[in-house]
Amino acid sequence: MGAKMFGARVPRLEDPRLLTGRGSYTDDFHLPGMLEAAFVRSPHSHAKINGIDTSAALAHDGVVAVYTSADLPEYLRDKTVPFQVPNPAISQPFQQRLLEGREVCFAGEPIALVVADTRYNAEDAATLVEIDYDILPGAADCKSALEDGAPMCHSTSSNNEGAKYIVGYGDVEKAFAEAHLKHREEYWIHRGGGFAIENRAVVAEYDEIDDMLTIWSATQSPFLVKQNVVDMLGWESDKVRVIAPDVGGGFGPKTVYYVEEALIPVIAKDLGRPVKWIEDRRENFLATNMERDQYWEMEIAVDADGKLLGVRGKMIHDTGAYMPWGIISPYISATTLPGPYVLPTYELETRVALTNKVAVTPVRGAGRPQAVFAMERLMDRAADKLGLDRAEIRRRNLIPTEEMPYALGLIFRDGKPMTYDSGDYPKCQAEALRIADYDGFRARQETARAEGRHIGIGVANYVEGTGLGPFEGATVRIQPSGRICIYTGGGDSGQGHWTTLAQVCADKFGVGVEDIDVQKGDTGKIASGVGTFASRIAVNAGSSVHLASNEVREKAIKVAAHMLEAAEEDMDIEDGRVFVKGSDLSVPLSDVARAVQGMPGFSLPGGVEPGLEATHYFSPSQSSYCNGTAVVEVEVDPDTGYVDILNYSMAHDSGTLINPFVVDGQVQGAVAQGVGNALLEWMIYDDNANPVSATFAEYLLPSAPETPNVDVTHVESPTPINPLGVKGAGEGGTIPAAAAIIAAIEDALSPWDVQISGAPLTPSMIVQKVHSGR
């Protein structure tokens, strides 16, 4: 029997193709007769459109068509992107039209689409579309947008409040009345994005003979694209196929459905030729959804021992001009705040502000980094005021392991009561402190200070609901060649689904992962699917592969028993062969697969159904809660504001690990995005909501020199929610990063009594703070 695959550090099957330039991303498709599209987008954050003149564009070389709202089929002119996740708390669920012809509400909103023989000609002609605007004032930041007299994000509204809700439990008033110590503070986390290195991309082809529309999209969720195309364009579901080919990074923004994904298919059908649209980086800055901007006004109450009594406050969430995913991000923020702590009372009022910016939908972490920032900063302040060590105050408040499962008293985004299913929070924090040599830090700090260097340490904890339902599925099929093929619905944008899902399957048949193919992200290959987001694939698709593989295994044994005239209970499978235990009688899986293909006129062996395959759709009863602790040691140069991350330690509990090699990579990459949130990434707008930082020279992503190595240690608390015991692992690294890094910087700068209440923190801000403290 081969080595056990599940749990092993298996190198990825995906890599050889991608390392030799044989991947196939959406822009790599060159279809016969294909046209290319370029969008005309609003240069203003807010404006009324008086008229559009496309005549010069139409006359340009190579132009085949120019579409404005008025040129779309009538039923599409006023149609908006389907509202994906309604919630009664939402009062103004504005959604984007395919092409806007009356009032544009963010800079980058599409107004017209030019289709030409080449992208060069399409872009040239796009500049010739003349649009007469009346520029309107824009609602720029979420806080002032909700104040009286603010400019309206949509001129048809009387206020900019898109949603309002309160979450909480317990008698907060009483808790605060009885508190030994209270601390109140405001926090602001700024806007940033996913910024996959591959921008969005769509190719659509309509085949008249089959009446079939095929869409290739650089999406995380081909099934959501299909569902929306069907809903929006009124096509028959079996006449639409959506494929997510190789996708060059996702990070959340490629989860949601965009107008471009509706328009390109419409136009491909209209023109009878394949159409390609490749977003450029400028468009990506303007028109791909972002996240993070939140303003928190919070108060914490603790007793004399530092035990939490309550947290209360208000949060304002910037949702941009539209709400395609409703209040998912801010709702996750609100329910993430209590984290791993015994928090007896809690109340948070959230107001969602409409602003004249591109829409806000989840970006890796999905509302959690902001909530963790607020909570962890409050914990730091309470510790400082009580004279307690910052790790010690956390330790005193962590939910004891014996209290698992732990009901929080809140309702999660999946509509179910939030119950932490499993986890060992005290162990996780202790492990992180141990690998960071937290106990030795103050001595290191003293030595460093004697040398004139300023080092500091920060600690942050988080809990994250992962493995979101409703389901993901998998078909496991053993082919007549003996190779196993797995089909699943979510796309892969770097997570390594081929390898990890193959690992779940391989041991059932005693084969190696190299004997297994995984076809993912194609609505033509499996009937139903959801998508790769919310750290959900290992849980949902992984469990489906497990269940389907078990069923195929049982069937293989049943058929082989019939073929070998043996009893099923005497049989086992190893090395891809079904054998009678204790004998040399065996049959390879390829023969079993061939036997159940059927022979004309003969019954199938054992009376089974044809095909050596099974399909399962695993639906978790609730989310499984992953958790972790980050401990970060930094050195800060008070003169230049440069922050050098000396040590980044993370204890991470995502349950049972399928492939620790891949999970380490997920944590490391997620931490890097958190480093961006803490120190670099800040989407800046002017007072009228026009973007200022729309290139990689102005909006900085972490590069190799400033990104730390992450020392990851895994604590494995298997979840009882799924048969594998796995939890999601894709976002945990990002969630506590900004909180821990900022705390460490503050600690390093303690000689100047610096207090930091926001992120990102740029070098100039650090220098300013040091100066005002000097």
């Binding site: 060069y120 190789d246 770097g494 990579g665 990689f696 590069s703």
Partner: protein
């Protein structure tokens, strides 16, 4: 009217002769005229490094060059790194063995950049590797696997030299 020229560019040992617009970028030429789609385009303003190729042995951002500037020159792209269809180059193998890639989109630029770097500096420190790839953005890996791969590749290349 667009200005067109006939150019001849050798890519991975194969000569491509095409009539192109003078404004065609080298990256678009490689990808859409020669159909070598392994070279990727991520920002079109020379920051992300995904489009990095080797031009006469030296790294260049193919999104910042015009195809006509490469007339008569030799280019090596990601498709031209492995010794044959069955084997990976030691640098590529080190990427697989150290989880140096996730989505694979920045990978071609990382490989070409590191090929040049490891020739100049066959025994680099971690800091030197990080500086060497500071002009290549990766959003997936946090660079840890890439740096480990580069250091591992340096050892393999030295052992094989």
């Amino acid at each position: 009217m667009s200005d067109r020229r006939t150019i001849s560019v050798t890519i991975n040992g194969e000569t491509f002769e095409r009539e192109v617009e003078t404004r065609l970028t080298l990256s678009d030429f490689i990808r859409h005229e020669c159909l070598l789609t392994g070279t990727h385009v991520g920002c079109e303003h020379g920051v992300c490094g995904a489009c990095t190729i080797l031009l006469n042995g030296q790294t260049a951002r193919s999104c910042l060059m015009l195809a006509v500037q490469a007339d008569g020159q030799e280019i090596r792209t990601v498709e031209g790194i492995a010794p044959n269809d069955q084997e990976l180059h030691p640098l590529q193998q080190a990427f697989q063995d150290n989880h140096g890639l996730q989505c694979g989109y920045c990978t071609p630029g990382m490989l070409t950049t590191l090929l040049e770097f490891l020739e100049e500096n066959p025994d680099p420190t971690e800091r030197e590797v990080r500086e060497a790839i500071s002009g290549n953005l990766c959003r997936c890996t946090g660079y840890q696997g890439i740096v480990a791969a580069a250091l591992d590749a340096a050892k393999r290349l030295q052992a094989g030299a």
